[in-house]
């Protein structure tokens, strides 16, 4: 027995050698491990809404006709090399790229390169209720419904095999921007037909085929999504041979995994650790301004908020810089317009919403409320990317309002009742926000501030202004960018005068990667691009020997 015990202790060093040199890796790999926040809802971005799914699918597996370059602020060719817009703005004609290869996997072998048929197939799927794939996998296309693209496009046709023509009901200059969004991906018509013949239609959204830089290999829920490089990608083979998304919902776990090398890249680090991560030599913290706006909307249908003077007074009563410090831990920038700073149409009007309690009191007196009044502030019961703590924000606004003699009560319901009661217009004011779906500035105006939006309940201020509607409609009817800019500037000035909403903040999105990861760009509106990204494990060895 004693020898047995001795033998065990003799084997202990063996156990130690298992671990002594750090985790073993496949030789010569440059694959990238991205720790993702959740499982993908689907592998077809046409059907999803969550940014998590979008990051994991669209830019990796698919391509879009045109792409939005956030750095240049302009549209770049994607699967379409060139496009023409008719003078009346009704017809868009796209010339398609030639020799674009679809993924070759163990479940699909493409027989032909990409052509107009694939574009028609992909668009008809959400456009045409009669399309064989329209109702597959639930048949909901939230992005295309929200942007009303399904009602804007009259028809789509292919006059030649490499030309696609889109006919609109009325001119709409945001079309190019919606087409460049990560939702408007191109699927393979040939694959669709094959699955239809086999009676396996739902596979199109579970075992995807696209033209993107990576092809699908396997997905294990709660564990990982594994992609392999698509060597024949039209931009050239991607820099890494594989891309793995590890599913890790907890942000603390993601950070630990980053430290131990179980992840190479992780989005959304815990807010209180960002400063610490920034100081580390082995980590690279990147940030970008999220295309969202948190705002405080007044119910302009109920007194006293139907009086612009009152709304203006309240906008001067709060110190937004202090809110950004305490609510966002400085991980946001002050909003001086409903549009974020990254938009080409933004007109910053910092004076319009400046913290000035004296002026606020004077305005209240002018409106006939010198003694103040009592109001409700509805605080969102859930955390949102544009507002990490609506309740705390409401409490702080409450104390600011007390200084100008306005008594505020904070109201909060469970999320579903909250939305229902909000839609019924039972609120005085609400702390809410908006996240853009695509890069066009129109996305911040028509969906949330027009009379039409009031009917579709997204207009939380219940504000309907004919002049404003005329301005944003005129802006959407022209494709001339300088004309649009002037119109949007006028619209923003009007907003600053009327103050149906007070813009509060645009949040900052963070992303951390290990120093061994190369060519990683900050996250952008369109998602994360991994085409040029690879992991340089040689560098890690070097660092270990230093």
């Amino acid at each position: 027995m004693i020898t047995k015990v001795k033998r065990f202790f003799a084997s202990a060093p063996l156990l130690l050698t298992l671990s002594a040199c750090g985790p073993a890796l496949p030789p010569n790999t440059n694959g990238v491990l991205y720790c993702s926040e959740g499982n993908p809802e689907s592998f077809n971005p046409q059907m999803v809404t969550s940014a998590t799914t979008l990051d994991m699918t669209s830019l990796q597996l698919y391509d879009t006709l045109v792409e939005y370059d956030a750095a240049k602020g302009s549209l770049q060719p994607g699967l379409a090399t060139d496009w023409q817009i008719s003078d009346d703005g009704h017809t868009y004609e796209f010339t398609l790229r030639e020799n674009v290869a679809f993924h070759h996997t163990d479940y699909f072998t493409p027989s032909r390169p990409f052509n107009a048929e694939d574009v028609l197939f992909s668009f008809q799927r959400w456009l045409d209720p009669e399309h064989p794939y329209h109702s597959v996998s639930g048949g909901r296309y939230p992005f295309f419904r929200a942007t009303r693209l399904d009602q804007l496009i009259a028809s789509i046709s292919a006059p030649r095999p490499n030309v696609v023509r889109i006919q609109l009901h009325q001119p709409d200059s945001s079309l190019m921007s919606t087409l460049s969004s990560s939702f408007a991906v191109i699927l393979s018509a040939e694959y669709g037909q094959q699955l239809l013949d086999k009676g396996l239609a739902p596979h199109i959204d579970q075992r995807p085929i696209g033209t993107g830089p990576f092809k699908f290999r396997h997905f294990r829920p709660d564990v990982s999504v594994y992609y392999q490089a698509h060597q024949e990608h039209w931009r050239g083979a991607p820099a890494s041979d594989s891309l793995v998304f590890r599913i890790t919902p907890s942000n603390h776990k993601r950070m630990l995994m980053l430290l131990t090398g179980d992840c190479d890249i992780s989005p959304y680090p815990p807010a209180r650790d960002i400063a610490w991560l920034q100081q580390r030599d082995d980590m690279n913290v990147q940030q970008s301004l999220s295309p969202n706006t948190a705002f405080w909307a007044f119910n302009t249908e109920v007194p006293p908020f139907d009086n612009p003077l009152v709304r203006k007074a309240l906008s001067h009563a709060i110190d937004r810089d202090a809110l950004i410090h305490s609510v966002y831990h400085d991980h946001a920038v002050r909003a001086d317009s409903i549009l974020p700073h990254t938009s080409w149409a933004q007109l910053a009007l910092p004076d319009a919403y400046q913290y000035d309690p004296e002026k606020a009191r004077a305005l209240l007196a002018e409106a006939g409320y010198a003694d103040g009044f009592s109001m409700d502030i509805w605080a969102l019961p859930v955390q949102r990317s544009y507002n990490p703590n609506p309740r705390l924000m409401a409490e702080q606004i409450q104390s600011y309002l007390a200084q100008i003699g306005v008594t505020a009560n904070i109201v909060s319901y469970e999320w579903r009742s909250f939305r229902r009661l909000l839609a019924q217009g039972k609120h005085d004011s609400v702390l809410i926000g908006w996240s853009a779906d695509h890069s066009d500035p129109d996305n911040f105006f028509r969906p949330i501030l027009t009379c039409a939006a009031k009917r579709s309940i997204n207009n939380r201020a219940l504000w309907c202004n004919a002049e404003f509607d005329a301005l944003v409609t005129a802006a959407i009817r022209t494709t001339d960018i300088s004309k649009r800019q002037l119109l949007y500037e006028r619209a923003q000035k009007l907003l600053a005068e009327q103050v149906p909403i007070v813009p509060l903040a645009h949040s900052i999105r963070y992303q951390v990667s290990r120093r061994t990861v190369r060519n990683m760009l900050p996250p952008s509106l369109s998602g994360i691009r991994f085409h040029a990204v690879y992991s340089d494990h040689g560098l890690m060895e070097e660092a270990a020997h230093d």
């Binding site: 065990f8 131990t260 179980d262």
Partner: protein, 342 residues
Amino acid sequence: MISIVLRQLGVFLITFFILSVLAFSLAYLFPGDPISNTSGVLMNHPHYEAVAQARGFDQGLLGQYLAYMQHLFQLNWGVSLQDGASIWHEFKVRFPASLELSVLAMGLALLIGPPLGILAAIHYNKPIDQVISFLSISGYSIPVFWFAQLSILFFAVLLGWLPIAGQVNPLFDVPLATGSVLLDIAISDMPYRGTALLNALQHMLLPVVILATVPLVLLIRLTRNACIEVQRMSFVQGAYARGLSSFSVLQKHIIPNAMQRVTPSVSTAFSLLMTNTLIIEIIFSWPGLGQWFVRSIYERDYPVIQTALLLLTVLILFVNMMTNIYYVWRYPRVRRELNATR
């Protein structure tokens, strides 16, 4: 012997029956529609009517129970309410992953627990005994999740020796076949199998060792106490008096008699281990039953809760039965007592 096995089997079947009735009635005890609760098929699903009929919901409770048992044995366990995935398919790959962890941990505990207990007993009240007893008492009082976090901090974050999540680095692209990563690597024809195996073992080291501490400290204490008691018995004193060496007394008399007292507790140790496997799996993102079960509770995924509960209890029952049978087979005296013969 056969009658004892049959008796054990009888007890197992009766307990299984009671458990299955309980699991079946959960469909009614959970809020909502019992058909959805047990099958995962929602009321607006086109197959809903067919499912209701197949599960006997047009008949009385007895018919429903029989249909439930039939589905259970046909491995037709319904689908998850959350993602519509087949529960059997999910179970098939998750169970071996959990089993891999718990069997290795149990093996480790059985390998070193009793020897350490014996070592402590033969050095009763000497420094070796005191060190071992101190370690086992502290191991007993430290919660597993805390020990796990501490080990992650030390071995993974500080020293960078070990990974902390999953079964193997996903870059190895181990094809999923059985769910147990060691088996999957062994049967695959992937490149770099040796390195992958090493990587999988590194992933396994922390969870297995931490998990093993639970039954380990229990086994050490039980073995030590049993040995000390046996040592005081008159037949042991007699053996010494006959002039046997202390080694052969230990080997022939003390250990076999002490082990007889420890054996029945192995099943207790195993059920303790299973509870802790659930915790360890969540901490180390191990894709086993624990993660699945806990998530189903969070998401109120009733068909999964219903099935997972039954399966876990059946597993523990089964191990309990096997331990009992082994106990009776290995120790004739127990057998005679049970049979009330001489």
